[in-house]
């Protein structure tokens, strides 16, 4: 039967690939005209050569086919040829036979260096070339040899699910590395090389409500004198204040002037806006700090956005399937074996899991879903409603608690600053007042640690149709908690702190974010220690069970996303924050790796790794990055920067830096008026954003309609295949009947003859 051997033996493969190279050549040159395709009543056969059954012993026919294939391969371009050779499922000996004949005098193969196509390029040529290529190379460069051995060990023991957590961690590390390089090179390095003068502007220039040095954290002894860098006490590492507060780490350190080298009217005197240095700029090297700050942050965010959207679309493309999948059992039987798993005990565990899942799926498929009575359905709804009430209620309660705590801390701080400034006497213990700053971060991290446990408990009493729904609900609740906490904090920082009139609010917000990041890390360590290490000891020694705790992938990934959101929020205020995040991620990798190896066992529930990876990248892009960039944009657009510190002092908003520069360019060079008009229309006018969003929505609608149409076509084609199968059976039966009749006919005739 033809269908049985399609693609099986060498001859069939050769002729199949001959057809493919022919199609590739025709596609490369022009569309084939319909007239050239053989007519057939069966639309499925039109344009294809029917591959008839080949026997392996027909070596002459095979060599003819091979020659045809080789001649086709010669006419392709080099990269197409390499790609074709690689994708042919033949043994190496056969491929070398085909490729040896490719070396001909009229097709001078250049030195082998040119043919050696890297796998990155092959990947690129498979997809749409050109625009994806550079990003392809970037992405392939990402899969460098970093941590290769450790990842292989984890994958070998726990499978693809847990491995995806560590790969996600690696991705975040690369994002932060990029941010760190950009901010380090363009902001930190120039400022560190040209430190601003230690004297801060005298209070008389811009009289604030209370006289105190820019760092409101520091309890001063004598408020009028400038503060030198405080001595280093260990608390700085936790609070980010003290010694660090007047360093390159925070926004407040950066000067608002143009940094110049050999220049007389050195821009070290803080002039409003610092634009006077133009004459000087022509003489020596000049580096305008405000512009650099503005453009660096803007460009870094823009490039991160592009990379995120690209990886999200790539991951989505890999895991989205147009057809609704109905063949769960077949998929589980064919695709569930993870060949990466190497350790014998893990293999045994995987076999057990697959057996259990197959049995469950079988029971699901064969069971008649008896319609639940109205009473049962009502009960289920009630239970769901109760669980959701508990979860959202606790979330709202915690958000309010954080709100009031933040308000209280703020009031305390204002009072302290005002009280000390006025009385000039009693200073609270500086260490205690700094330690008190840790109250808010500790509270938020505690909530993040404990509340998901409550959500899990609420989820246990509920009844779900499938484990994936349960998983999604758990993730949604956790996400809701984190989003509400972060929005309360952002409101507090940007709404209250920024407008409170305290000096250098940006540095303070930067310090807060540093503290939050650090506390998050410490509490994750605590959770690893308690949740995994102690639990394993407890269950082994006390409960005497050999069941180790299961590594909760979703919760850990959401923790990573939360940490990354904090880092993105803080880049504007603390240019060195990506560096802190890098150190945190490195430590987290090794700690989590050792904890997983020592304490955990492989997950028992089926884990759809590629779908979950898509979900996590989407979560990283949408609530996390979008929220951070909205906050940063809002800060740059509408909040007045503090008047006494930072690169934007004296301007009404941070965006004004860009606007002033464009105007200055226009004044200096009248040919660039188009730039100014373009700037005013594109950047400042919200109409452009609306138009862009509208175009985006139209594209999305169009694509969704295309997907709907493709689904219909797939259903129709499946019908067609089924019908052709029936036709084939009918024809074969007819053939057999005819043969049988022909055989019987002479027998009957001879019988009749003999009867006579």
């Amino acid at each position: 039967m033809p269908s049985r051997t399609i693609g099986r033996n060498r001859g069939a493969i050769l002729s199949q690939y001959y057809n493919r190279t022919l199609q590739l050549r025709m596609r490369r040159q022009s569309r084939p005209s319909l007239r050239d395709l053989p007519h057939s009543s069966r639309p499925s056969l039109r344009g294809y050569r029917v591959e008839s059954d080949f026997s392996e012993t027909d070596s002459r026919a095979e060599s003819v086919r091979r020659q045809a294939l080789v001649s086709n391969l010669q006419k392709l371009s080099v990269s197409d040829r390499v790609r074709m050779l690689r994708t042919m499922p033949l043994s190496m000996a056969d491929k070398r036979q085909s490729s040896v004949s490719l070396v001909l005098p009229e097709d001078p193969l250049p030195s082998s260096g040119q043919i050696r196509v890297t796998s990155a390029q092959v990947l690129c040529h498979r997809r749409r070339p050109g625009s994806y290529c550079t990003a392809c190379v970037l992405v392939t460069a990402h899969s460098l040899q970093l941590w290769q051995v450790a990842l292989k060990r984890v994958g070998g023991r726990f499978g693809t699910g847990v491995l995806s957590y560590f790969l996600f961690l690696k991705t975040l590390l690369f994002f932060n590395l990029f941010l760190f390089l950009v901010t380090g090179l363009f902001l930190v390095l120039p400022q560190a090389v040209h430190p601003p003068p230690a004297v801060h502007p005298p209070p008389a220039v811009h009289p604030p409500p209370a006289v105190h040095p820019p760092q409101a954290v520091h309890a001063p002894q004598t408020p009028q004198l400038p503060q030198g860098p405080a001595s280093f006490s260990g608390l700085e590492l936790l609070t980010g204040g003290g010694y660090f507060s007047d360093s390159v780490m925070y926004y407040g350190y950066y000067s608002d002037t143009t940094l110049n080298r050999d220049c007389d009217n050195n821009g070290s005197l803080p002039s409003p806006g610092g634009w006077r240095g133009l004459d000087c700029a022509r003489q020596g090297l000049s580096y305008s700090m405000p512009l650099a700050y503005f453009f660096t942050i803007g460009t870094a965010f823009f490039i991160t956005c592009i990379i995120l959207v690209f990886s999200m679309s790539r991951s989505f493309g890999q895991s989205f399937r147009v057809e609704q999948s109905t063949s769960l059992l077949a998929m589980k039987a064919f695709c569930s074996w993870d060949f990466k798993v190497v350790k014998t005990s893990s293999v045994a565990l995987m076999s057990e899991n697959i057996g259990t899942q197959l049995r469950e799926l079988l029971a699901d498929v064969t069971r008649n879903h008896a319609n639940q009575t109205a009473g049962q359905r009502l009960w289920r709804l009630l239970v769901h409603g109760l669980a959701w009430t508990v979860c959202s209620g606790s979330t709202v309660a915690c958000a309010l608690a954080v709100h009031y705590l933040a308000q209280h801390m703020h009031a305390v701080r204002v009072l302290q600053a005002r009280g000390e400034g006025g009385a000039g006497g009693v200073a609270a213990d500086p260490l205690l007042s700094e330690a008190r700053l840790l109250a808010l971060p500790v509270g938020v991290s505690l909530i993040n640690l404990l509340l998901p446990g409550l959500f899990n408990a609420a989820g246990w009493m509920e009844e779900y149709d499938s484990p994936s729904v349960r998983n999604s609900v758990a993730i949604a609740r956790n996400l809701m908690l984190k989003v509400s906490l972060l929005s309360v904090l952002c409101f507090h920082w940007l709404g209250r702190e920024a407008t409170s009139g305290l000096q250098c609010w940006e540095s303070f917000v930067g310090q807060e974010l540093y503290r939050f990041l650090l506390m998050d890390f410490l509490f994750t360590l605590l959770d690893t220690l308690l949740g995994e290490f102690l639990w394993r000891l407890f269950s082994e020694k006390v409960l005497k069970k050999s069941r180790r705790p299961v590594f909760d992938i979703a919760r850990n990934v959401l923790e990573l996303i939360y940490g990354q959101t904090l880092a993105w929020l803080g880049v504007l205020f603390t240019p060195l924050l990506p560096g802190v995040q890098i150190i945190k991620l490195l430590l987290l990798f090794y700690i989590k790796m050792s904890s997983v190896m020592l304490n955990c066992q492989a997950p028992r529930k089926p884990y759809r790794a590629s779908k979950m990876t898509t979900v996590f990248i989407t979560l990283l892009c949408f609530p996390s990055f979008l929220g951070a960039s909205v906050c940063v944009t809002y800060t740059m657009w509408s909040i007045a920067p503090s008047r006494a510190c930072g690169p934007f002092r004296g301007l009404s908003t941070m965006m004004q830096a860009g606007r002033l520069w464009v105007e200055q360019l226009r004044d200096a060079n009248p040919h660039l008026t188009w730039l100014a008009t373009a700037h005013s229309y594109l950047v400042e006018n919200p109409l452009f954003l609306f138009v862009a969003a509208g175009v985006f929505l139209i594209i999305i609608y169009f694509n969704s309609q295309v997907v709907g149409g493709q689904r219909k076509v797939i259903a129709l084609l499946q019908e067609q295949i089924k019908n052709e199968g029936e036709d084939k059976k009918f024809l074969i039966r007819q053939l057999q009947n005819t043969h049988a009749k022909k055989r019987d006919a002479p027998a009957r005739r001879s019988q009749q003859d003999s009867a006579c």
């Binding site: 039987a333 695709c335 089924k722």
Partner: protein, 188 residues
């Protein structure tokens, strides 16, 4: 044009790089691991063939229930026993990160086709499920469950209703699972 067991020529290395999905480091590592499997006499042969027992001692294959099928499928000798270095590279290439879905599904089909007849019929499916669920009796399915499972699988994946799953139908099922490409991987 065989490789001497101790050293891979540069032309050969570049040719292998063109014809497989492996990178240069992967090919060199494979060469190193392969020569460790050879016995002393075999090392001096022009086209050394590592016996199946030696290959099955590799840690990446040792616990895999499909290990014998894998070696059989990639072997080019008449008795389907033992792999040359080129067969070994074919194996690693099909199981590598950058291999296409088509190559992987083609070889997966051949691995699951226990009787080598070109289609997956009921016996093949039964052996496949037994390999998946393990050796011990309490993890295996009962005969009733097995029959039910196989008939469900055939109902879902056999489109032309001939009672067997051929390569195209297999590839159709595989193409709907996005996890297949990442789980059909072996890395040295």
């Amino acid at each position: 044009m065989g490789a001497t067991a101790s050293h891979l020529g540069k032309d050969l290395l570049s040719e292998y790089q063109e014809l497989t999905f492996l990178t240069k480091q992967e090919i060199l590592l494979a060469h190193k691991r392969f020569t460790e499997l050879l016995s002393r006499e075999d090392k001096n042969l022009p086209e050394p063939r590592a016996p199946t027992e030696a290959i099955l001692t590799l840690p990446e294959l040792k616990s895999n229930p499909f290990r014998e099928r894998i070696v059989r499928v990639f072997s080019t000798s008449e008795s389907r026993d033992g792999l040359t270095f080129e067969d070994f590279l074919d194996l690693l290439s099909a199981f590598s990160d950058s291999a296409t879905l088509e190559i992987k599904s083609h070889y997966a089909f051949r691995i699951f086709d226990f009787d080598d007849d070109g289609t997956l019929d009921e016996n093949d499916l039964e052996k496949l499920v037994n390999c998946l669920t393990g050796e011990t009796d309490d993890t295996r399915l009962t005969p009733d469950e097995m029959k039910q499972l196989i008939s469900n699988i055939l109902e879902e994946s056999d489109i032309d209703k001939d009672g067997t799953v051929n390569l195209s139908e297999f590839q159709h099922v595989i193409s709907r699972s996005p996890d297949f490409v990442s789980s059909f991987k072996i890395v040295l």
